[in-house]
Chain length 209, copies 2
């Protein structure tokens, strides 16, 4: 069985989205700078984006290669306008949501919408991932839910050299975070520091299956 990892970009001041993120506004004011490493440099919504290069490309390819399934939150799905309703990953993508209807399912047949919580999403993701990893892509709230539940085994943070000042903090609502971190690999490009941590649940049994 593969591992469960969180893969998410964060500003140096701890935000995984800028202010006023939402439908049509992507990751909010300045938020696109969190993803410069994905696009080979500065980019803007609406422009044709470049491609990740060098170390950033290696990291991105590694995520795609290692992941047998992806889990994202509905808000993240909406923020990027459903990626044009085409799964952008190279493996099945599960979208956690409280609400889904036949219209959305018809619009976005390459996604699986899960309405009964993170453990169900993880169970379904694991079933299709087989020996590969399950990658949790965000947003902040979904990452926090998985971390709080002690379900995360690896944390991959892509730390952008950016101050957003306000927005969505990736690490909050985790005051009783029942895990320890062990520093693992660090890779560096001019556009991001790619930090990897091994996450070990503390003093509680993991319930992941």
């Amino acid at each position: 069985m593969g591992k469960v990892s969180v893969d998410i970009s964060m500003s140096l001041d701890g935000f995984s989205a800028g202010p006023d993120d939402g439908f049509g506004q992507g990751l909010g004011v300045g938020g696109e700078r969190l993803h410069s490493w994905l696009f080979g440099g500065d980019w803007s919504y609406g422009d044709e984006a470049g491609s990740a290069a060098g170390v950033d490309r290696e990291v991105l390819d590694e995520i795609f290669t290692a992941s047998g399934a992806h889990i994202v939150g509905r808000r993240m799905f909406d923020v990027v306008e459903g990626w044009g309703y085409q799964n952008p990953f190279q493996a099945p993508c599960f979208v956690l949501t409280h609400r889904v209807d036949d219209e959305l399912r018809a619009l976005a047949p390459t996604f699986t919408f899960v309405t009964d919580g993170i453990e169900s999403a993880l169970r379904q993701a694991r079933a299709v991932a087989g020996d590969k990893d399950v990658s949790i892509g965000g947003g902040a709230n979904v990452a926090q839910q998985f971390l709080r539940a002690g379900l995360v085994e690896e944390l991959n943070l892509h730390l952008a050299p950016v101050f957003l000042g306000t927005g969505k903090r990736l690490f909050e609502n985790l005051t009783s975070a029942p895990f320890t971190l062990k520093q693992d690999r660090v890779l560096v490009s001019p556009l991001a520091t790619h930090l990897r941590y091994v996450v070990t649940p503390q003093a509680q049994s993991r319930q992941t299956s």
Copy 2:
């Protein structure tokens, strides 16, 4: 003239001190883990601390060698109980405070207490630092004041593989942060990722002398 740098340790979730930091309680609950890199591993208040080793030692020596003066806040000074009223650095240390009396000055003659704000502290620090750097050691509030004022040229973050959950956030109250960051050197030990950023004030003239 040397540069003005901020040198401060931060948890992965963005705290530079744990909850309930204060006199006799150091950096608060769990806060000592932020400084494991300074002491070669886990340590506790009251125990004899070990020494930084390897990459951590190099980073620490570099700070001491490069710095011709240090600036810290009064709260930080109090939290560590004035380092036993002996300046722990190898260069003069300026303590920003709103209140100082003859008794404290007599107790702590190896420190200089500055009561008229960050620009005065920086001017005095620069005067003694000569060609060397001025290092701002924290706490969070003092670092924020210097960053907001556009007076910081280099940011050295020692990122500990630790979740504190609550405490003092290093990067808040910086919503209008008028600067950009450029990723510089990254050094890695098992106890910390030492991140360096070049800070460039944005669209405002710097007033640093």
